[in-house]
C-alpha cells in the first residue's frame, strides 16, 4: 500500500473509463436530482436557478442544507458558511488524492479536482490503491455524476410535482451502501484499518448532535486518520 512507484498520468481514455465505472451509480443519482429540483421550486427558486445551482455547486448535501434557509432576507455570509461547513470534507478528499493529483500538470490537476465528490473519490481512491495510475478516471466519474445530477434537477424543477420518492425503491440508501462496499475489504483486512473505522464511526455518531452539519464527518475522518498515523509509528 505504501508503494507509489508508478507515475500518475491523465488520458482521454481515462475520462471515458471513469465515466463507465461510475455510470451504474450515476443512473441512481437522477432521482436525487429530481427530488432536489422539486424541493428547490418548493423553496422559491426558479427552474433556472435550481438547475444553475446543481450545475455550479454539484454537492447535494450542501444544496439541500441551503434550501432549508433559502430566503431573500438571508445574508450571503450565512449561505457561504453553510456551504463551507457541509463541503469542508472535500478538502480532506482532495488531500487524500493529492498523492496522484499533484503528479499531473496543474491545468489537468485543477480541472479534475473541480469534479471531486464522495462517489468518484471512493471509486478512484480504491482504484489508485490497486495500482491504477490514470487520474482522469476521477474527472470521468465526476462528469457522469454531474450530468446525472443536473439532468435530474432539470426533470424535477420543470416536471410536474409528482416526482418519484427515492425511498420507495431503496435509492436513498445508494450512497451508504456503495461507500460501505468500497471500504469493506480494507476495513476487514487489517487490524489498524478496523480500529480506525470503529473510531471514525463512533466519533461521527457521538459528535452528530453537537456539531453543525458536516463537521462530525471531518472530526471522524481526522480521528480515524490519527489511528492510522500512530499505528505506523510502532
Amino acid at each position: 500500500m505504501a508503494g507509489l512507484a508508478g507515475e500518475a498520468v491523465f488520458t482521454a481514455r481515462g475520462i471515458l473509463r471513469g465515466a463507465l465505472r461510475l455510470g451504474p451509480i450515476a443512473i441512481f443519482i437522477i432521482p436525487f436530482g429530481i427530488a432536489y429540483g422539486a424541493a428547490a421550486i418548493e423553496a422559491g427558486m426558479t427552474a433556472a436557478q435550481a438547475i444553475g445551482t446543481s450545475a455550479l455547486v454539484f454537492a447535494g448535501a450542501s444544496q439541500f442544507a441551503v434550501l432549508d434557509l433559502w430566503d431573500e432576507s438571508m445574508a450571503l455570509a450565512t449561505v457561504v458558511l453553510v456551504v463551507l461547513a457541509v463541503n469542508a470534507r472535500h478538502v480532506l478528499l482532495g488531500a487524500a488524492l493529492a498523492r496522484w493529483l499533484n503528479g499531473i500538470p496543474p491545468v489537468q490537476r485543477y480541472i479534475a479536482a473541480t469534479w471531486i465528490s464522495d462517489a468518484n473519490f471512493a471509486d478512484t481512491q480504491k482504484a489508485f490503491e490497486q495500482g491504477e495510475r490514470d487520474v482522469a478516471i476521477l474527472l470521468g466519474g465526476g462528469l457522469v455524476m454531474w450530468v446525472a445530477w443536473v439532468a435530474g434537477t432539470a426533470f424535477g424543477a420543470m416536471g410536474s410535482a409528482n416526482f418519484v420518492d427515492p425511498s420507495r425503491w431503496g435509492v436513498d440508501v445508494l450512497m451508504p451502501a456503495f461507500f460501505a462496499a468500497v471500504v469493506a475489504p480494507g476495513v476487514t483486512g487489517s487490524v489498524v484499518m478496523g480500529a480506525a473505522a470503529v473510531v471514525a464511526a463512533v466519533v461521527a455518531v457521538a459528535s452528530l448532535p453537537y456539531l453543525p452539519a458536516g463537521w462530525s464527518v471531518i472530526l471522524a475522518a481526522l480521528a480515524g486518520g490519527l489511528v492510522g498515523a500512530f499505528a505506523r509509528a510502532r
Binding site: A2, A177, F178, V182, A184, A204
Partner: protein, 101 residues
C-alpha cells in the same frame, strides 16, 4: 418569485465556496512533506471519511439503512463487486419499504 440578482449572487457564492473546498486539498498538500506517517494518516483518513458518512446515514436512517449497509458489506466480501453490493443493499431497503412501512 421572479429571477432576482440576490438569488444568483447566492448561487454564485455557493459555487465558489464549494470550488474552494475541492481545490484546496491538492494545493495544501503541495506544501506538506509526505513522510510514511503522513501517508498512513491520509490512507486511514480517506477510509474514515467514507465510514463516517455511512455511520451518519445509519444514525439518521435507522435499521433500514443499517440493514442495507450490512447486506452491501456481506455481498462485497463474498463477490468483491461494489456495484452488485450496492444494488443488493438497495434491494433490501426497497423490500423493507414495501413490506414494513
Amino acid at each position: 418569485m421572479p429571477d432576482n440578482p440576490w438569488a444568483w449572487l447566492a448561487i454564485a457564492a455557493m459555487g465558489l465556496a464549494t470550488l474552494a473546498t475541492r481545490i484546496s486539498g491538492p494545493v495544501v498538500m503541495r506544501r506538506v512533506r509526505v513522510t510514511p506517517r503522513v501517508e498512513a494518516f491520509l490512507e486511514s483518513m480517506s477510509m474514515s471519511v467514507l465510514v463516517a458518512l455511512v455511520a451518519g446515514a445509519i444514525a439518521s436512517g435507522g435499521l433500514r439503512t443499517g440493514g442495507a449497509v450490512v447486506v452491501a458489506v456481506v455481498v462485497m466480501l463474498a463477490l468483491r463487486n461494489a456495484v452488485g453490493a450496492m444494488v443488493s443493499g438497495m434491494a433490501l431497503a426497497a423490500l423493507w419499504s414495501a413490506l414494513i412501512v
